[in-house]
Amino acid sequence: MTRSFLTGTRGELLGVGVLALLVLLVLPLSLDVFRLNLVGKYLTYAFVAVGLVLCWGSAGILSLGQGIFFGLGGYCMAMFLKLEASNPEATKIQSTPGIPDFMDWNQLTSLPWFWEPFHSLTFSLAAVVLVPSALAFVIGVAMFKRRVGGVYFAIITQAIAAILTILIVGQQGYTGGINGITDLRTLKGWDIRTDEAKLVLYFVNAALLLGCILLCLAVRRSKLGRILVALRDKEDRVRFSGYDVANFKTFVFCLAAALAGVGGAMFTLQVGFMSPSFVGIVPSIELVIYCAVGGRLSLLGAVYGTLLVNWAKTSFSESFPELWLFAMGALFIGVVMAFPNGLAGLFQTHVVPRLDRLRGRGLPPVPGPTRMAAE
């Protein structure tokens, strides 16, 4: 059996290296701060897409509610930043100084209890990861133990996204309502709105993303990764090989949620606000398409997919706004019908053989992972 030099651990690390080169060197050198900040924003979505590769591509669990976790992570970060921005000095014109402005407008006279811990940066950073994974854990245990899967799971996650949106929008005194938590300024006194700050945040974000990809690669390389693939193929076989399948699904769902949370937090830091429009159904489904375009089985593909779709979205809507929905719709259909393995699949079938030939091996490629996620 022959293998391309681009498969296996070496190939994956090489891929991460190329991506690192791209996001840490090529893009910063070739783009102005404005475009780079855009790329930074896109890369925060890539966290979700990478999580979806594990959750959907590897384990076959399609969540249409990843926006929930992205949003929760983002809100945790935003709550900290908002508290910092709402010091008594800056808010002295309010009837209750020292609380966020939207609370004051909603006649709250003291900080709600669940906001209190967000004075602490450590707590907030922990919450960015833990709150989404805790919710994912509850959903996961409840659903996977009861063997809810496939389309049912997808619809239920969608309903949860709808519930959360209504709650966030409705409880505006506690959440900032539909406007979200806006006007975030500083992180421990460091102004996050300046160009330098944006540059720093971009690099932090890119480095975190690379770290998360390495983490996911490690998970995929472990026996757990193979169990996930096995699960997608033959869930019963795994169960009757002595595994508590629900635990594994819950784990990967939580991991994906935690990644989404980190993405959300980085989003808040770079964009400067968080609003319920990232929690709902539509953004959640869009997040899935990023992953699908990149190739649902490829962690790196997910990053490129996210960058590509968002880049297309920005440039399309700049030049042909009315065509954007057509393009997006066609993308959904095309990726499902013609390129089920997305960019990564195209890369495997068209680029890898050529690269191999260039290296003088002339070996036929390994058949790529052509099987679809069963459910």
């Binding site: 404005f34 409705g170 809507s317």
Partner: protein, 419 residues
């Protein structure tokens, strides 16, 4: 800026105002481009590197052309383009033709923030006319403050905001609400109210102000309810309304829910000719979707109706229909959006500069007599003084203006006693 400054400029301003009062008239719009000849040097009127050349000045239009909000924002885009065209036909601003760069906010708030950053940082536009929802405005506000841009925001909104970098050309909540309530107190002898709204910040804040005002006057709020955006089933709340028999239904329902609400109200046998209903969220635009026959008899309270009878408005409606088709309807926000470019032009000319700081400082006191709604003036809090009117909805999709306040209502974005 104090009122002294305004007075100091008054003589000079008066002359221009007279000119501009005519500006909106079609005849005036065809005036020769006499202003170009005496255009001041670019270096003098643009010290901060905005996109101003010797013959042009760039501005931005930032609304949603795609997504759910495009329904509402289309009218604003059209009005802003009309105003820009008319200003250009009159010779532009400080002798410079306005070129606009249109960006799509795509009904997505970060996109608004992103695009506003692009407009300010990359395109260096001298002003931006845009945003519709509060959420989009909240998203772009820090960007405008950080990069020192100028935003003209057209929508009637909940208030609770004031910025050096924003001119609010729509009404804030108290302007819209108090006069309307006073009118129903007096004319309808209304004593009990049922407040209903879509569940987000504008209806909630507005109803809060309404409730305070109702209770201050010794009347009763019989019920207050909010439904998620996009809610389509109102039969239960209609039953509750029937049970409580309020004198007035006070409705701030928006979007697709609006249509469902009025259709179901009518089908449930609530005749708006007998049951008083007052809304602040239905303009002529919304009437199109609801169907005039389903809402005829309701009272809408805002500052502008298409049927308003004055020369400015007649010219405006005619020009608008000429440009965008005879079927166009013009709602309150569309008119407010039309004010944006004009107010900016007047302010720039008063300041004698495109510099944002000077424009912001020159804004208070700017009067626009050519406004289709009649007359407006920028308050020191960057909102507009304007009259509030009450329209009676008719089956043909238009309103009869049946009342207007005698005085201009003072904008009060942070109303004491109403929060």
């Amino acid at each position: 800026m104090s009122s002294d400054d305004i007075r100091k400029d008054s003589h000079d301003a008066l002359r221009r105002k007279l000119l501009l009062g005519m500006a909106a008239l079609p005849a005036a719009a065809m005036m020769p481009r006499l202003a170009f000849a005496q255009a001041p040097a670019t270096a003098a009127i643009n010290t901060t590197g905005l996109a101003v050349t010797d013959s042009t000045v760039k501005v931005g239009i930032l609304h949603s052309v795609t997504g759910t909000m495009s329904i509402s924002e289309t009218g604003s885009v059209e009005a802003e383009k009309l105003a820009i065209q008319q200003i250009n036909e009159m010779g532009g601003v400080l002798g410079r033709k306005i070129e606009f760069i249109q960006e799509d906010g795509a009904s997505d708030w970060p996109t608004f923030a992103e695009k506003s950053r692009k407009l300010l940082v990359n395109d260096k536009v001298a002003a931006v006319f845009g945003c519709w929802t509060s959420a989009s405005r909240k998203a772009v506000l820090p960007v405008f403050e950080q990069y020192n841009g100028m935003l003209y925001y057209p929508t009637f909104y909940e208030g609770l905001e004031q910025s050096k970098n924003v001119i609010y050309t729509g009404q804030e909540a108290t302007q819209q609400i108090l006069a309307g309530l006073d009118w129903v107190f007096k004319e309808k002898g209304a004593k009990s109210f049922y407040l209903i709204g879509s569940d987000y910040i504008w209806p909630r804040t507005s109803n809060k102000i309404a409730r305070k005002h109702i209770e201050k006057n010794g009347f009763k709020v019989a019920g207050e309810e909010y439904f998620p955006l996009g809610h389509t089933q109102f039969n239960s709340v209609i039953n509750k309304i029937k049970l409580t028999k309020p004198d007035v239904i006070y409705a701030i329902v928006v979007g697709g829910s609006n249509v469902a609400f009025y259709k179901q109200l009518k089908a449930a046998g609530i005749d708006l000719k007998k049951q008083t209903l007052m809304t602040i969220s239905v303009t002529e635009d919304e009437m199109l979707g609801i169907g005039g026959e389903n809402i005829a008899g309701a009272y809408a309270c805002m500052k502008y109706f298409q049927s308003l009878d004055n020369p400015n408005n007649k010219a405006f409606v005619e020009a608008f229909k000429k440009m965008w088709g005879a079927d166009s309807v013009i709602g309150d926000v569309t008119q407010a959006a039309y004010l944006g470019p004009w107010l900016w032009k007047l302010t720039v000319e008063k300041a004698g500069s495109f510099d944002i700081d000077k424009v912001a400082a020159a804004s208070p006191g700017i009067e626009f007599k050519g406004a289709p709604e009649g007359y407006v003036r920028i308050h020191e809090n960057h909102h507009l003084w304007s009259k509030t009117r009450i329209g009676l909805a008719k089956a043909d999709g238009q309103f009869d203006v049946i009342h207007e306040t005698a005085e201009l209502m003072e904008p009060d974005p942070f109303p004491k006693g109403y929060q």
